[in-house]
Amino acid sequence: MKTCREIHQLVVLGADRELAWRERLAIRLHLLVCAACRRFEAQMHLIEMAWKQFPGPQGQEQRAGQAAQSAATANSSAPHGPQP
C-alpha cells in the first residue's frame, strides 16, 4: 500500500498526464480508506475546474462592465493584480 505522500504525487501528476493503470488502481485503493487524500484529490479537482472556467462565471461580465465604467475616466489604472 502506498503512503499518502506517494498518492498525493500521483494525484497531482494525474492532472497533467495519463496515469498507468497500476497508478490509477493504487490511487483508488488508497482513496477508499483515506479521507485526507480524498479531500486532497477533491481540492485538486476544484483547482482544475476553476481554471477551465477562468476568468469566472457569467455574472462576471456585469462586474467587468461596472469596473470598465468606473475606470473609463482613468483607464490607465489597472483594476486588478499587482503591477510591476
Binding site: 477562468f54 462576471q60 461580465e61 475606470a71 486588478h80
Partner: protein
C-alpha cells in the same frame, strides 16, 4: 464614428480580457497590446459572431489564439524571472508518509466556482507563483499547449517541467487554502 453597441460591449470586457492576458504576458504593455489586437479582431470579425455563443466566450477564444500566436513568435525572447523555487512539500508529511496537517474539506465545489470573487483570488495566487511556474502552468492549463512546446519555449527539460507543474498546483492549493477557504470556514466552526 459613433460607437456601436457591440463596441461598447467589447469595451466592457476589456478588464476581463486584460486579467486573462496578464496571466501569460506579465509585461503590462504586451498584455494590453494583445487585448487591443483582440478587440480589433472582434470588431472586424463580428460577422463571425453568431450571437448564440456568449460574447465573452467568443472574445476569449480570440484572445486565447492571440496569446498562443504571441508566445509562439516571441515566447523565447520574453524575459523570465529565473528564481529557483526550492520550496519542498515534503514537510507536509511525516517520516512514515502520512499527512501532518491533513487537507480540509473545501465545501461544495459548485458554490465556490459560481462566486466571481473566487477567480480574483485564483488570479492573485497564480500571479504570486514564481514566474516560470506560472507560465508553464497557465500555458498548459489555460492555453492548452502541449508539454514539448512548453518545454521548448521555456527552455525546460521534461523532468523540470513536471516538477514545475507539481509545484504550481501545490502552491495554488496552499494559497487558496490561506486566502479563500481559510476565511470561508472561520464563521462556521460548529457546522
Amino acid at each position: 464614428m459613433s460607437a456601436s453597441p457591440l463596441a461598447e460591449q467589447l469595451e466592457a470586457l476589456r478588464p476581463t480580457l486584460l486579467r486573462f492576458a496578464r496571466l501569460q504576458l506579465r509585461q503590462a504593455q504586451d498584455a494590453e497590446d494583445a487585448v487591443q489586437d483582440t478587440l480589433l479582431a472582434a470588431l472586424e470579425g463580428q460577422a463571425g459572431f453568431s450571437g448564440k455563443a456568449q460574447l465573452k466566450t467568443w472574445v476569449i477564444a480570440i484572445l486565447r489564439n492571440k496569446l498562443i500566436d504571441r508566445i509562439r513568435k516571441y515566447g523565447r525572447e520574453m524575459p523570465l524571472d529565473d528564481a529557483d523555487d526550492a520550496e519542498s512539500f515534503d514537510v507536509l508529511f511525516d517520516a512514515s508518509g502520512h499527512w501532518i496537517d491533513p487537507p480540509r474539506a473545501w465545501g461544495n465545489p459548485e458554490a465556490t466556482l459560481s462566486q466571481a470573487q473566487f477567480y480574483d483570488v485564483l488570479e492573485v495566487c497564480v500571479t504570486a507563483l514564481p514566474e516560470k511556474q506560472a507560465r508553464a502552468f497557465t500555458m498548459h492549463t489555460v492555453l492548452g499547449f502541449e508539454a514539448d512546446e512548453i518545454c521548448k519555449v521555456l527552455g525546460l527539460s521534461a523532468s523540470n517541467y513536471w516538477v514545475l507543474l507539481y509545484r504550481a498546483r501545490m502552491r495554488l492549493r496552499e494559497c487558496l487554502e490561506l486566502k479563500w477557504f481559510g476565511q470561508q470556514t472561520k464563521g462556521r466552526v460548529c457546522a
